[in-house]
C-alpha cells in the first residue's frame, strides 16, 4: 500500500506548493498545463514566422523577381528556416511539448508530470533554442541557406548563405532543442509508465496518449542521430576534420579536406529524419482518433488494431530511412530493401485510415468544428499517404525525387494533415483549457477556407512535379520542356497560399475573442468519456484532481453502449452503475 502513502504525501505537498505569485504561476511554472501553453504559444509564434517565410517563397515562385528583398540568397535562407522551424520547432514542439504536456497527465489521471522541474527546464531550453535559431537572421551573413537537410559539403562551404554564422547557430540551436526535447521526453515516457491513475491499464488509455507516447519514444531514440551528425559537422567546420568532407575543389580552392563521406551524413540525418515524420504524425493519429470517436458518438473502431498499428509504424519507421536517399548515390542495392520496408509501412498506416472511416460508419456524427478538421485530416492524409506510395517505390522516386511532387507530398502528409489536427485539437480542448466556448461560426469559416485553400495549393503542385519542375529553384527561367502555363499555375498556387495564410486571422480572432468574451464552457461540452473532461474545475487547477485521484473502470471509448441511457459512459463509472450485457456489439 505504499503507493497510497505516496499519493497522500503528494496531495499534502500540493497544498503547500500551490504557487501564488504571478511569476511562479505563469512564468517559472512547473505545472504541466502552464508549460503546455508556453510550449504551444512559442511554437505557434515561430510557426507564424515560418508561415511568413513560406509566403516570401511563394511570392517569388508565383511572381518572379518582383521584390527586392527576395533574392537567391534570402530565398534559400527562407527555405531552410521555413522547413526547419515547421518540422522541429513548430510541429515537434507543439505536439509533444504542447499537447503531450497538456494531455498526458490529464488523460492518465495524474496530478502532473513525474519530474515537473525538468519539465520546466525543458520549456526554457526550448525557448533558448528558438532564440538562438531566430538570432541567426541577424548575424553577419544571415541564416544558413543549406536547406533544412543541411547536407554537407555545401552547408559549410562558401556558395551557400550563412556559412559565417548561420550554420553554426543552426547546429547549436538544434543541439539545445534536442536537450530540451530529451528532458521533456523522459517526462512523457515516465509519466505514462508510472503516473497513470488506478485502473488505467495501458489498453484503456486514449489513443491520443498512445500516439504521443510512441512518438516520444521514437524521438528519444532518433534525435541522437541528429545530435551526432550536428556535432560531427561542427567538428568538420571548426576543427577541420573530415567526417563528411571529401577532397574537393571549392570555387577553385582546395579547402583541405580528405576522404570524408557526404552520404554518411545523409544516413545519420535521415536516421533521425524519417522517424521525425512519425514523431509528428503519430500524435496527430492519436488525437484525431479521439476527436472522431467523441464527435461520432461511437467507439474508435478496432482499438487494439489501432494501438498495434501505432507500435508497428513506430518500429518500422527506423528501417525505412534510406527511402529519402534513393538517388543520393548510396549503394543502389539498398533500394530493394528500403522500397520493400517503406511499402510495408503502408499497411499499418492504411489500417488506421480504414478504422477512422469505419468509426464514422454507423455513428451519429456531429459536424462540429473539431470534427470538421478531423474529417479534413482524413481526406488530406489519404491523399498524402497515397502519394507516399509513389515516392517510397524506388523506381517511381527517380523521376519524381527533388521535384515539386515531393514538396506537394510532404506538405500534404506532414504539413496540412497534422496542422488540421492541431486546429481540430485546439478547438476540441479549448473549452477545457480556457473554460470558454469558441465561436462556432468563425471556426467553421476557418475550417472551410483552410481546408479548401490548402488543397488548392497542393493538389496542382503534384502535377508541376510530374512535369519535372525541380524543388529549391529560385527561378525556373525559360525551359523548353515546361509549358508557359506552368508559370500561371504557380501564380495560382501563390494566390491560394496568400489566401490560406490570411484566413488564419480568423483563428486568432476566434481564440482571443473567445478567451475574453466567449460563453462559459460546460466542464464536459462534448459528452466525452476521457478523464480530462472530468476534472473538478474547468480549467483544471494546479494538481488537476482536487483531493482524490480518479479511479478508472473502463476504456476511453464507451460511447452509445447498448442498454445505457446516455450515449457515453465516463471512464470513472464502475460497471455496477451501468447495465450489464456490455459485449453485445462485439463481433468476433
Amino acid at each position: 500500500m505504499s503507493s497510497y502513502v505516496a499519493i497522500a504525501d503528494r496531495d499534502h505537498e500540493i497544498e503547500h506548493h500551490d504557487p501564488q505569485t504571478f511569476i511562479r504561476k505563469y512564468v517559472w511554472s512547473q505545472d504541466h498545463k502552464v508549460i503546455a501553453i508556453q510550449y504551444g504559444i512559442t511554437a505557434i509564434f515561430v510557426g507564424l514566422i515560418a508561415l511568413g517565410l513560406s509566403l516570401m517563397m511563394r511570392l517569388q515562385l508565383g511572381f518572379p523577381n518582383e521584390f527586392e528583398f527576395i533574392n537567391p540568397e534570402s530565398y534559400y535562407q527562407f527555405i531552410t528556416m521555413h522547413g526547419m522551424i515547421m518540422v522541429i520547432y513548430l510541429l515537434t514542439a507543439l505536439f509533444l511539448g504542447g499537447f503531450g504536456n497538456y494531455l498526458i497527465p490529464l488523460m492518465c489521471g495524474a496530478r502532473d508530470m513525474v519530474f515537473p522541474y525538468m519539465n520546466m527546464l525543458s520549456y526554457w531550453a526550448y525557448l533558448l533554442s528558438v532564440i538562438i535559431l531566430l538570432a541567426s537572421f541577424f548575424v553577419p551573413g544571415g541564416a544558413t541557406g543549406a536547406g533544412w537537410t543541411l547536407y554537407p559539403p555545401q552547408a559549410i562551404l562558401p556558395g551557400t548563405p550563412g556559412v559565417e554564422w548561420g550554420i553554426l547557430l543552426m547546429l547549436v540551436s538544434l543541439a539545445v532543442f534536442i536537450v530540451a526535447f530529451t528532458m521533456g521526453g523522459l517526462n512523457y515516457v515516465t509519466t505514462v509508465l508510472q503516473a497513470r491513475c488506478r485502473g488505467m491499464t495501458l489498453m484503456r488509455m486514449p489513443l491520443s496518449v498512445w500516439g504521443i507516447f510512441i512518438a516520444t519514444i521514437l524521438g528519444l531514440l532518433a534525435f541522437p542521430a541528429l545530435l551526432v551528425s550536428a556535432i560531427m559537422m561542427l567538428f568538420d567546420m571548426n576543427l577541420g576534420t573530415s567526417f563528411f568532407m571529401p577532397a574537393i575543389s571549392s570555387m577553385g580552392v582546395d579547402p583541405g579536406f580528405v576522404g570524408g563521406s557526404p552520404i554518411l551524413f545523409q544516413h545519420l540525418f535521415w536516421f533521425f529524419g524519417h522517424p521525425e515524420v512519425y514523431i509528428v504524425a503519430l500524435p496527430a493519429f492519436g488525437i484525431v482518433s479521439d476527436l472522431l470517436s467523441v464527435h461520432a458518438r461511437k467507439n474508435i473502431f478496432g482499438y487494439r488494431m489501432m494501438v498495434w498499428a501505432l507500435i508497428a509504424i513506430g518500429g518500422l519507421s527506423f528501417v525505412v530511412w534510406a527511402h529519402h536517399m534513393y538517388v543520393s548515390g548510396m549503394h543502389p542495392y539498398f533500394g530493394f530493401f528500403f522500397a520493400t520496408t517503406t511499402l510495408i509501412i503502408a499497411v499499418p498506416t492504411a489500417i488506421k485510415v480504414y478504422n477512422w472511416v469505419l468509426t464514422l460508419w454507423e455513428g451519429n456524427i456531429h459536424l462540429r468544428v473539431p470534427m470538421l478538421f478531423a474529417i479534413g485530416f482524413i481526406f488530406t492524409f489519404i491523399h498524402g499517404g497515397l502519394t507516399g506510395l509513389f515516392l517510397g517505390n524506388v523506381t517511381i522516386d527517380m523521376p519524381l525525387s527533388d521535384t515539386y511532387f515531393v514538396v506537394a507530398h510532404f506538405h500534404m502528409v506532414m504539413g496540412v494533415s497534422p496542422i488540421l489536427v492541431v486546429f481540430g485539437a485546439i478547438y476540441h480542448w479549448f473549452p477545457k483549457i480556457t473554460g470558454k466556448m469558441y465561436n462556432e461560426t468563425l471556426g467553421k469559416w476557418h475550417f472551410w477556407m483552410t481546408f479548401l485553400g490548402t488543397y488548392a495549393i497542393y493538389l496542382p503542385m503534384h502535377y508541376l512535379g510530374f512535369q519535372g519542375v525541380p524543388r529549391r529553384y529560385f527561378a525556373m527561367g525559360n525551359t523548353d520542356f515546361l509549358p508557359e502555363s506552368a508559370q500561371a499555375l504557380n501564380a495560382a498556387i501563390t494566390i491560394s497560399a496568400l489566401f490560406v495564410a490570411a484566413t488564419q486571422i480568423l483563428f486568432f480572432v476566434n481564440m482571443i475573442w473567445s478567451m475574453k468574451s466567449g460563453k462559459k464552457a460546460d466542464p464536459n461540452p462534448w459528452d466525452a468519456t476521457t478523464l480530462e473532461w472530468l476534472t473538478p474545475d474547468t480549467p483544471p487547477k494546479h494538481g488537476n484532481w482536487g483531493p482524490d485521484l480518479p479511479v478508472v473502470h473502463r476504456w476511453a471509448y464507451d460511447y452509445s453502449v447498448p442498454g445505457y441511457e446516455d450515449d457515453f459512459i465516463p471512464q470513472t463509472v464502475p460497471p455496477e452503475q451501468a447495465p450489464a450485457g456490455r459485449d453485445h456489439g462485439v463481433v468476433d
Binding site: 488505467m200 519514444i217 528519444l220 576543427l239 459512459i569
Partner: protein
C-alpha cells in the same frame, strides 16, 4: 548502420515484449471494478529509476550511432588505425575500480549503513576524476606526438568518442556532487540514498559504454 539497428532492435524489442504482455490478451472494452491490489497508481519510488533507464536508452542510441558512423567511415580507404596511448589501460582500470567503489557505496546505502556512504562517495568521485584527467592526458600525449584531431578520421573519432564519453561522465559528476554535498549536510538522507543507487547504475552503464568503445578502438 547495423550497430544502431541492433541496439534499437534490442531496446524496441524489449519494449515491444513488455507492451505485448500488457496488451495482447486485453479486451479493453470490458469494464471492471478495480480492486485495491490491482496495479495502477502512482509509484513514485520507481519513477526516477524508469526515468534514468529511459535516459540510458537515449544515451545508448547516441553512442551506437557514433559507433555506426565510425564503422561506416572506417571503410572509406583513408583510415589509418590509431595507436591508442597506453594510459588508456590505466584509465580503464581506474574506471572499473570507481564502478566497484560505487557499487560498494550503493550496497551500504541499501543496507542503510550511513557511516560508509560519505567515504564511499568521495573515493568514487576521486577515482572518476582520475579517469577524466587520465583521458585528458591521453589527448595531450596524442597531440604531443603529432596525432591531431584532423590528422586522420581515426583520430577525429578517437577524440569525438572519448570526448562524448567524458561529457557524460561529467554530467554524472554533477549529480554525484549534489548527492555528496547533501550527504555532508546530513539532510534528507532517504532521497540521497536513492540518488546514490541511481548514480551507481549510471556509473556502471558508462563503464560498459567505455569498455565497448575501448574495445572498438583497440580492435580497429
Amino acid at each position: 548502420m547495423e550497430y544502431i539497428l541492433i541496439v534499437l532492435a534490442v531496446i524496441l524489442g524489449g519494449l515491444l515484449g513488455w507492451l505485448l504482455k500488457q496488451t495482447f490478451n486485453a479486451e479493453p472494452w470490458v469494464a471492471d471494478v478495480v480492486s485495491d491490489t490491482a496495479h495502477q497508481g502512482p509509484m513514485n519510488a520507481h519513477s526516477k529509476l524508469i526515468g534514468l533507464v529511459t535516459l540510458l536508452a537515449v544515451v545508448t542510441s547516441f553512442f551506437a550511432l557514433i559507433v555506426s558512423a565510425y564503422t561506416l567511415r572506417m571503410d572509406l580507404g583513408d583510415w589509418i588505425p590509431l595507436t591508442e596511448p597506453g594510459i588508456l589501460w590505466m584509465n580503464t582500470g581506474v574506471l572499473v575500480v570507481a564502478s566497484l567503489a560505487f557499487q560498494w557505496t550503493r550496497n551500504a546505502a541499501v543496507r542503510n549503513d550511513e557511516s560508509k556512504l560519505l567515504p564511499g562517495m568521495i573515493v568514487t568521485g576521486l577515482l572518476t576524476s582520475v579517469f577524466v584527467i587520465g583521458q585528458f592526458i591521453a589527448w595531450q600525449q596524442l597531440n604531443a606526438s603529432g596525432q591531431y584531431v584532423t590528422s586522420n578520421p581515426a583520430n577525429a573519432f578517437f577524440f569525438f568518442l572519448t570526448g562524448a564519453h567524458a561529457v557524460h561522465i561529467l554530467g554524472g559528476m554533477y549529480v554525484w556532487t549534489r548527492a555528496t554535498v547533501r550527504l555532508m549536510s546530513g539532510k534528507d538522507t532517504e532521497s540521497v540514498r536513492r540518488s546514490i543507487e541511481l548514480c551507481a547504475l549510471y556509473w556502471h552503464f558508462l563503464l560498459i559504454v567505455w569498455l565497448v568503445l575501448f574495445g572498438l578502438l583497440l580492435s580497429t
